[in-house]
Subunit: 143 residues, 2 copies
DNA sequence: TTTATATATGAAACAATGTTGCAAATGTAG
DNA sequence: CTACATTTGCAACATTGTTTCATATATAAA
């Protein structure tokens, strides 16, 4: 699905900032930070607009925010954004403590946790921290 | 275990800030925010010291930080802090989207997720969002 | 194509969160 | 009680997130 189609589907206006962010996230191999997006957009970037755009895109379910750490936030397209109308399955996120990379592990599904009586579940976020394959390889080569 | 014993066990100096934070977390029924701790400590509170203390206590494994949200951070004693030398089992954290309360669900264990080859797992954080029993009750009473 | 208008933007100003360097204070081993 | 490594607290800064409001713009309708 193209960024224009994503916005059309959700009855959102096709503004430059929204299109720029969606295009960038679509080409990015991993979830991206505000700073990544900022650098990509250069002068056309405004922080306030960014936060509001992110908010809008999240509310529509086009993207999701990954909070890997108290200082590490990333954004990624929802998978259902490419497969129309399909609900995103909750997936595990991986955070490399060495290089800082965050990954959406679409293939690792989140377990359905059973909460105590009376609690109402809405969403479940799983972040696994460790070394990504590249950093793990470098690490074992070093010693 | 008393706060003094916790610090002794980890060869940390028994300073007023450390003791105050540990005492407060020990009596708190839920994980607490920086602001909660600040209010409790009043004048004896200094933000820089707070951050450094938290860092030290986390590195020693006395407390853990729960990042429920990009704007919601809480701190809680590790369970092993009361049961000497016992490794804390990773547990699920619950975040109430209505009242903002965070809970450690010690009784809900984290599933061991299988990562792709080459990745090295270090830690796994699970945050379930939804309504806590109190807010869920209020919610159904309202309608 | 033009116009009306609801929506989105961007500036200013602020609030909250987190970090670093350094001199002074303090906990503790001896 | 003293020596000294550790910890504190201040100043100064960096990053992240929010609110208000006037201006600009995307789009539906004429």
């Amino acid at each position: 699905m193209t960024p224009v189609e994503m916005l059309t589907l959700h009855h959102l206006r096709k503004t430059p900032t929204r299109l720029a962010i969606l295009k960038y996230l679509q080409t990015a191999p991993f979830p991206q930070s505000e700073n990544d997006i900022h650098k990509k957009m250069q002068d056309s970037y405004d922080r306030i607009t960014f936060y509001r755009t992110i908010q809008t895109l999240m509310e529509s379910g086009i993207i999701h925010r990954i909070v890997a750490d108290n200082t590490t936030v990333r954004y990624a397209l929802n998978h259902c954004t490419s497969a129309l109308n399909e609900q995103d399955a909750d997936h595990v996120h991986f955070f490399c403590t060495k290089c800082g990379k965050v990954e959406c592990m679409e293939e690792v599904a989140v377990q359905p946790y059973q909460l105590p009586d009376g609690y109402k579940k809405e969403e479940c976020n799983v972040v696994v921290k460790g070394l990504c394959n590249e950093c793990a390889k470098k690490n074992s080569a070093e010693k």
